[in-house]
């Protein structure tokens, strides 16, 4: 690792809910923590997200989901990354995630679940520790 290396994170909102306030707060917070944040905004398809993650060679993907469709959307993103040989990119999920789904998401292959109220520094530390590769 060279001193110039900056960690890059894709912050994306899959699915149909129209609230990107949380995603923006995260994007802005990570920017201030020294990350290069690729922010792609609302209503992204899992196909777009997987492609973006690969082209941008990110160290982590953060999905913000408030619609309740987190299981299917996240599963699809993970599948697509796997199909394209990019299963090593850690995927984080944030938003409105019921407690009972946390474990299921992790079983799917999600690296971490961060719901509202998580301090940005915790997310930043988490990404840093997972981006050793």
């Amino acid at each position: 690792m060279t001193p110039d290396r900056k960690l890059r994170v894709l912050v994306a909102k899959p699915g149909l809910d129209g609230h990107d306030r949380g995603a923006r707060v995260i994007a802005y917070g990570l920017r201030d923590a020294g990350f290069e944040v690729i922010y792609t905004g609302l209503r992204q398809s899992p196909e777009q997200i997987a492609r973006e993650a690969i082209q941008e060679d990110v160290d982590a993907v953060g999905l913000s989901i408030l619609s309740g469709a987190h299981m299917s959307l996240t599963g699809r993103v993970l599948d697509l990354l796997r199909e394209q040989g990019a299963e090593d990119i850690p995927v984080l999920v944030g938003g409105l995630i019921p407690d009972q789904d946390r474990e299921a998401l992790c079983e799917l292959g999600v690296a971490g679940v961060f719901t509202a109220g998580t301090p940005i520094s915790e997310v930043a530390d988490f990404i840093q520790s997972h981006a050793g590769a």
Partner: protein
């Protein structure tokens, strides 16, 4: 590197990161890639922040893909001078093409470079070239009046202007208004667009450049797509002319080599002096006013030995 030539997106993306981070070995990779480059034409899109560069890049890319081109896009946004982080948001406007086949988009942060470009942009464009993208669009950060670095990296430069950016004298000023191969007046549906186009036309008339055989000013609306078609044609036309402009090509090669030498010298100077106690004592001397910055610099320069090249003195 082999993956890049085989057009594997993941391999290309990783090569780009290596180049951008100046990861050890990046130069060897670029050396090996160089023989596979030279086929792509590089189009630069520059202009003020919020002028619609990303939306226009989105439209241009879509049109170029329709024509059968493979298009690489380098979208640059600024790094924070405080945290070193960046919010790269150009992809927000490029959704129409973000999953199009034959399109590769890479967001880059300036990481402290000036001129609307970043250090690695030219190398990244070359990597895209080697991976078979025959057109590479470089969208600079939003720029002001005198960020003209893009000229050194692109075959053709489009300067995006918008209505309301000042009176006719603005068009006459030196700097960014001088570097365009084509001028785009974006948001052409707004009041004042005709005036901007007229101001640019008047400036071109004064410049004495013979533009009778080619249109120079293109009104566009990057949201509706109006005007993008003739602009695309013009960019492709200018890009094709570059092959017949050997002076521009050699001027750029000269600039690139000089820049690489310059940067390496600067890097070595900084690395060499960082831990050297003589730098500290020179600083101390300046601070306590026993010495001055000019004498201190002169003394330190003496440490770098004789240059084999005749200096300007």
């Amino acid at each position: 590197m082999r993956g890049t030539l085989a057009r594997e997106p993941r391999a290309l993306a990783r090569l780009v990161s290596g180049v951008e981070n100046r990861t050890p070995g990046w130069e060897d990779a670029m050396k090996a890639l160089y023989p596979h480059t030279g086929k792509a034409r590089i189009l630069g899109i520059t202009g003020p922040p919020g002028g619609g560069k990303s939306s226009l890049t989105n439209r241009l890319t879509a049109g170029l893909v329709d024509r059968g081109h493979r298009v690489g896009v380098i979208a640059i946004d600024p790094s924070s001078p405080f945290s070193g982080g960046a919010l790269l948001g150009d992809r927000l406007r490029m959704r129409d093409v973000s999953t199009a086949p034959g399109v590769f988009i890479r967001s880059m942060a300036t990481r402290g470079s000036l001129g609307g470009l970043c250090q690695g942009a030219r190398d990244v464009a070359r990597a895209l070239d080697a991976a078979g993208y025959d057109l590479v669009l470089i969208e600079t950060v939003g720029v002001g009046q005198d960020e003209v670095e893009i000229v050194k990296a692109a075959d053709v430069v489009a300067v995006v202007c918008v209505p309301g950016q000042g009176d006719g004298v603005q068009a006459l000023k030196a700097g960014i208004m001088e570097i365009a191969d084509v001028y785009v007046v974006n948001k052409a549906d707004r009041d004042g667009a005709d005036q901007v186009a007229a101001d640019i036309g008047a400036m071109l008339a004064l410049s004495g450049e013979d533009t009778t055989d080619r249109e120079m000013v293109f009104p566009t609306n990057s949201l509706s797509g109006e005007g993008v078609e003739p602009l695309t044609e013009a960019l492709l036309d200018r890009a094709a002319r570059v092959e017949h402009a050997p002076e521009r090509v050699s001027e750029r090669a000269r600039e690139e080599v000089l820049l690489l030498v310059e940067r390496e010298i600067a890097r070595r100077v900084r690395a060499g002096l960082a831990e050297d106690p003589r730098l500290e004592s020179a600083v101390e001397g300046v601070v306590t006013r026993r010495s001055d910055p000019y004498s201190a610099a002169e003394a330190l320069l003496g440490l770098f030995g004789r240059m084999e090249v005749v200096t300007g003195e």
